[in-house]
């Protein structure tokens, strides 16, 4: 007999309100695995909105997790800015040559029109289909790249650091156009039916940017951007460490923060308690070769460290589970949550 007394959406909203729901909500942030479900190549799968919507519905039915994920792949935004996407048979599509070849290109950058960008229209269509199918049963999580992190794909990491440190005026100009795009893109997804937006911001992590610099850059960008997004947001550091800035991130107005498996989850939870929900932090890379026993132990340990009092969603540490993670590990995660995640059992 099922012990569930809440829908996925109720469960997630309860934990976001820092209260304990019936069980620990868990997000399997699966993208490419939908292609396996539909017996397609990754490229074919992402070519149609219907495929992604169907893949998400099937995967939630199979694993019983608490969200649908309307994220296609990270370079979908770069594609809208005029960049290319390189498909792979065994991994996420990657961004091709940077669209900003020299700093001078920043002066002429124009914010892409979402309605005129077929790649983005496809994501919106997938979101609409998912919303029609799932209604209010489970949240649909949309994704944007933060204006502060998008330049890694627009111009490459090294060139972006050079810009940040040597060209403050052009840096501000790039942030301004990126912020405009990010707000438009997030709000379009919310209008299409997304419940919340995952704001991917790895460059703001302490792994990449020191806190004093973050406070002058990524923090200000996030505060301005999140204030204009018409729905709840979760900031994801995509494997980057966040403990030194987690209180600052909470002050940007975000409802949750995705943290790394390299961090002490207990310490992260203590720093976030009542301020922001913790999302994480199973090791997505190592997960590929977890045994069922190890999977159960990892899930149990994360729940023991962070679930008390709500404000916790179990997830991977990166925001995208690698293609190489087998179905039986995903199933074992689900089984472990359904074994150890009940609040009433404690």
């Amino acid at each position: 007999m099922s012990m569930e007394t809440m829908t996925s959406l109720q469960r997630v909203l309860t934990t976001l309100g820092h209260k304990e729901p019936d069980r620990v909500p868990f997000f399997l942030l699966l993208t490419m695995h939908g292609a396996k479900e539909l017996n397609m190549t990754i490229r074919e799968y992402f070519s149609k909105a219907e495929n992604v919507a169907e893949g998400q519905i099937r995967m939630r039915k199979k694993y019983g997790h608490d969200c649908l994920y309307s994220f296609f792949y990270a370079p979908v935004e770069v594609e809208a800015w005029g960049g290319s996407v390189i498909y792979s048979e065994d991994g996420p599509p990657n961004s091709g040559e940077p669209i900003i070849g020299s700093f001078a290109d920043i002066k002429t950058l124009r914010v892409p029109d979402i309605k005129q960008s077929p790649c983005l229209v496809k994501v919106l269509e997938a979101t609409r289909i998912m919303k029609k199918m799932i209604k209010d049963e489970a949240p649909i999580i949309g994704v944007v790249m933060s204006p502060f992190s998008l330049p890694v794909m627009q111009m490459g990491f090294s060139q972006y650091f050079d810009l940040m440190f040597a060209e403050p005026i052009l840096f501000e100009r790039l942030m301004a156009v990126n912020e405009e795009f990010c707000v438009n893109w997030a709000n379009a997804q919310l209008e299409a039916g997304a419940t919340a937006i995952c704001y991917f911001d790895p460059v703001s992590s302490s792994t990449i940017t020191p806190r004093d610099l973050y406070l002058k850059t990524g923090y200000e960008v996030a505060k301005r951007t999140l204030a204009r997004i018409n729905g709840p947001t979760a900031t994801h550091l995509a494997s980057g460490n966040g403990l030194p800035v987690v209180a600052d991130i909470a002050n940007t107005g975000t409802a949750a923060v995705g943290v790394s498996c390299n961090e002490d989850l207990l310490a992260v939870k203590a720093a976030c308690r009542s301020k922001t929900t913790v999302l994480g932090n199973l090791n997505g890379i190592e997960m590929r070769r977890w045994t069922p026993e190890q999977t159960e132990n990892e899930v149990k340990s994360a729940i023991q460290q962070a679930a008390a009092g709500g404000g916790f969603i179990l997830s991977d540490n990166h925001g995208e589970i690698p293609w190489q993670v087998p179905d039986d590990v995903l199933m074992a995660i689900s089984q472990a949550v359904h074994k150890w995640g009940w609040y009433s059992k404690k």
Binding site: F157, T207, I208, P210, N262, I285, R289
Partner: protein, 217 residues
């Protein structure tokens, strides 16, 4: 005549601080003053290399950020190029060595290690972003003895296995050293793909290169 006397700790600390503050001017001033008293190679060995190693180590411990590691490497590379030009006989004698980003378009890790090794007196080829076929071809063509491979994505890390197998098929004995995010998150992965060693930062890279050079000697 300039000596090979040791640099004092204070100087090393000031140099490291200049790097972490990303203050090229301060770093240049320290180098200029020091090289009036000692040979450039002494400054590289006793100040630049330890500073870069400590910075890499501190990043590993979560004490500093990647942007600081990157900028420190770039500043040191520029500075060392002025005192030890690429063809200088004072640069470290070493086996043929190259670095590449396998498949990924993200090359920050490669750039950091490349700059830091050059700033430590090594010369190495930068093969840029290459696929498996191209990396195997260049390894054979340049008769490389050490190949450093940097990756960001898990699929790219798994493709190292193909590089290793293809090189073995061609009886190439180049040592393969891997680094990058997937190897940091899964510490068994380097062995799974058949690499000879892995490194999480510049200090590891230097240690691994020294060890391989000793084994080759």
């Amino acid at each position: 005549m300039k000596g090979r006397v040791g640099m004092n700790n204070l100087l090393s600390q000031d140099f490291e601080k200049a790097l972490l503050d990303m203050d090229q001017r301060a770093a240049t001033k320290i180098l200029t003053q020091a090289c009036e008293a000692v040979e450039p190679i002494v400054f590289v060995e006793q100040v630049v290399m330890p500073a870069l190693e400590k910075i890499g180590d501190d990043w590993d411990k979560g004490l500093i950020a990647l942007s600081q590691v990157y900028m420190s490497g770039r500043i040191c590379e520029r500075l060392v190029d002025t005192i030890l030009p690429p063809a200088s006989p004072n640069r470290t004698s070493q086996p043929a060595m190259a670095i590449a980003a396998l498949n990924d378009y993200h090359s920050l890790g490669k750039t950091i290690i490349y700059s830091s090794l050059r700033a430590s007196g090594y010369e190495l080829l930068d093969l840029g972003r290459v696929g498996v076929d191209e990396l195997v071809r260049q390894t054979i063509e340049h008769k490389l003895r050490i190949v450093l491979i940097s990756v960001l994505m898990l699929p790219s890390a798994l493709h190292v296995k193909q590089v290793v197998e293809r090189l073995k098929q061609q009886k190439c004995k180049a040592k393969i050293v891997v680094g990058g995010a997937p190897f940091r998150f899964d510490q068994q992965l380097w062995q799974e793909v058949g690499a000879d060693a892995t490194g999480a930062n510049i200090a590891d890279a230097l240690k691994v290169i020294h060890r391989i050079m000793e084994e080759m000697a």
